[in-house]
């Protein structure tokens, strides 16, 4: 269908691309690899792009973080503030806090960069969590991708620690209160806790002047380098193993259907980068986040209501609030209360998550290789367990906001805690059962989980009568999703695949 002009233009384009590759080849001898790399196929399902959202958040975090590091000073030397922010005038504060205040008010783009950095961190973790759920619910962690699951969970863990260390750097009241909690949690580790906390902080809380420096090095070098390295490994393994895809017409365990890296997928991906930057800097410029000047410099005697961690640590803060006041004492040694919700719970959670690919194999007696994904409904038990875990995390995250929920709904704090304590057991069970039954129902009807069913699957029973599965269909026209025939064909193709 193409015209003569179009054909000659595309020939010219290919020629130019060839010239560019020749240039690289003459110098680096790598054009063969690049040529095949540019032709690499990536599947197109939208949910596969959320991992990229996280990756681009990381890129933006590096860029904004470098800008912030130009002005931040990790020093706990006490200075007297005489800057442009009147309510802090004449107050004593650490140089670290002063540098963040100056960064916010006196450095061009400083506040924008700081807020964009913080929003990017919050979205980064949200994208990682979504990406992880996608991988979990579709069984993308199954053989041969267990290694990438391990790398991914490590990325999540380090990102949480990285986020928390960043939250602690400004040395404002929230930072200090958060560190106070973490110090106590570290202290609660049996036998080694007090020793560990003392050495990490360089003394009893709030620690020596070396602590802020250490935190800075950890946030600035150690964790970002680990993240960059593991992200590289994550992508390299993905590249080597190729991306998974949902079953569909023409898709098998052995092939891959989608867009080429160049130009289609690269352009899509670049567009996504632009959109991530738009959202991050849009929020950074328009919506206030962590106004440290309101919280004031950290002093051990001060505290503020509504002192919560950033959202991805909220489930641990909530667990601290929900955990009963148990203390165990035996053989002259006490296991302090924060150990259970602060160390044991995340320890168990992350152990189970790390081990999940192998647990999954045993549960489903499925040790084979899989390049085609499950739909969540295909493995109702896995989906039910995943939903139950999500509800548990939502419950504990809500628990970290009990004071705000109580204030908003005018409900007593104790009642909320009690509801969420029971909720952390009952909620996952109810959620799991509902998810399981929904999966079974969706398997039977073949309907879309969100959209209203259009038509349905027509089956013929043993007596020769015809039935429509998915009874709530409302006719064939008018909703833009095509007629019933297409749906039936699509569903059949799905099952054959």
């Amino acid at each position: 269908m193409s015209t003569v002009e179009e054909r000659s233009a595309s020939r010219k384009r290919a020629q130019r691309q060839g010239q560019a590759l020749d240039f690289v080849d003459d110098r680096l001898g790598s054009s063969k690899w690049i040529r095949s790399a540019l032709d690499k196929i990536f599947p197109d399902h939208w949910s596969f792009m959320v991992g990229e959202v996280a990756m681009y958040c990381f890129v933006l975090l590096l860029a904004t973080g470098i800008y912030l590091a130009l002005f931040y000073s990790p020093s706990s030397a006490v200075v007297t503030y005489h800057g442009s922010y009147a309510p802090l005038d004449g107050q004593k504060m650490t140089q670290a806090y002063e540098s963040v205040i100056n960064l916010s008010f006196n450095v061009r783009f400083g506040l924008l960069m700081r807020q964009a950095h913080h929003w990017a961190a919050n979205i980064f973790l949200a994208a990682i969590a979504f990406h992880m759920c996608r991988v979990f619910f579709t069984g993308a962690f199954r053989r041969p991708r267990e290694a990438n699951w391990i790398i991914g969970i490590t990325l999540l863990l380090i990102s949480m620690l990285e986020g928390f260390s960043g939250y602690s750097l400004p040395d404002d009241l929230l930072s200090g209160s958060g560190l106070r909690v973490v110090y106590s949690i570290v202290q609660s580790i049996p036998f080694v806790g007090p020793w560990l906390a003392f050495n990490v902080w360089g003394g009893p809380f709030p620690g020596s002047s070396a602590f802020l420096q250490r935190l800075f090095v950890i946030h600035e070098f150690l964790f970002p380098l680990l993240l960059a390295g593991l992200l590289g490994a994550h992508l390299a393994v993905l590249w080597h193993q190729k991306h998974t895809d949902f079953a569909g017409p023409g898709k098998t365990e052995k092939n891959i259907v989608g867009s080429r890296l160049w130009p289609q997928y690269a352009i899509k991906s670049q567009a996504l980068l632009m959109f991530v930057a738009m959202v991050v800097f849009g929020l950074g410029g328009l919506v206030q986040i962590n106004p440290i000047w309101i919280y004031g410099p950290f002093e051990a005697a001060r505290s503020s209501a509504g002192t919560q961690p950033d959202w991805y640590v909220g489930w641990l803060d909530g667990a601290l609030r929900l955990w009963p006041h148990w203390e165990f004492r035996s053989f002259g040694h006490e296991i302090a209360n924060p150990f259970f919700p602060g160390i044991l719970l995340p320890g168990i959670v992350f152990t189970v998550i790390y081990a999940w690919p192998w647990i999954d194999k045993r549960v489903f007696s499925d040790y084979g290789e899989h390049n085609l994904l499950d739909r969540p409904r295909d493995k109702p038990l896995r989906t039910a367990l995943g939903v139950a875990a999500l509800i548990f995390f939502i419950d504990t995250t809500l628990a970290s906001a009990t004071d705000l929920i109580g204030n908003g709904l005018q409900v007593s704090f104790e009642l909320l805690i009690e509801i969420l304590q029971y909720g952390s057991f009952v909620g996952p069970v109810i959620g799991g059962v509902v998810a399981y039954r929904t999966c079974i129902l969706l398997q039977r009807t073949g309907a879309h989980p969100v959209q209203r069913p259009v038509g349905g699957i027509i089956v013929r029973d043993a007596h020769g009568a015809y039935h429509t599965l998915g009874a709530e269909h409302d006719g064939h026209e008018g909703n833009g999703h095509g007629g019933p025939e297409e749906v039936v064909l699509g569903a059949q193709a799905h099952r054959e695949a």
Partner: protein, 286 residues
Amino acid sequence: MSTAVPSSERGWRRPLAALRRKAMGGPLALVGVAVALFAVLAWAGPAQAGPPVHWTVPVSTKPADIQAGNVLFNEHCSACHGVGAVGASAPSLLNVGPAAVDFFVATGRMPLNSPKAQPMRNKPYFSPKQIAEIVAYVNALDVAHGTPGPGIPNVVAACKTQSAECPTLSEGNQLFLLNCAQCHDASGSGGMLSQGYVIPSLRDATATQVAEAIRVGPRPMPNFGPGQLTDQQVMAVADYVTWLSHRPDRGGLGIAHFGPVPEGFVAIIFGLGILLVISRLIGNRG
């Protein structure tokens, strides 16, 4: 400015500078005398002319106001507080003072529907004139009883004179973070106490009401007497809270000023949410 001092010090030691000093000696001495004179005048001036600061607003003692207040009290308050404010199902008001009455009535906390409910900020039921009359009546009772409570703090006047008593925002900030933020949040958005007590936001409170609450201690808030916070410190806190409620939100829209929880909500719903929609638009289905 601070760099000028060492450089001139260095100049003293140089012979050329010494010569310059000789030539400039006359004018410098003149300037010195002028500065000293000005300093003495500046020090002496306000001390003589400055009006004494009244920390409280005078309460009307006119019989007409007291009588009008008596009528209002009997209609709206005596059912719980008893005739003559001696107390019934609600506490006696014989020692509360004008600050407490003004605070509870002017913020709409009183009259209260049920004596067991926590009084919350509401639209004031009475007009300012009626409030002043009720205050006058209860004040008259308190004075007659020999136990006048704290008066209504005079916040605005103290700050408008711009005298040495005028509090600084920094002083208010420090006192607020030390004494108030535990419950009211560093941003004054409020929170939650045990037993279902809601800690109110300070957003709508006027400076006078903040000062009244500090002195009165509307339950479950403790009261801060003059031994804990001086009148000037109360002014400083009230001034800072007023500033906090009307502050310009640097860095954009402040989301409820409740810290990381609403921030996380916005990051997930609007941040990731928008990006999921965009991913769906860029990507395909299947």
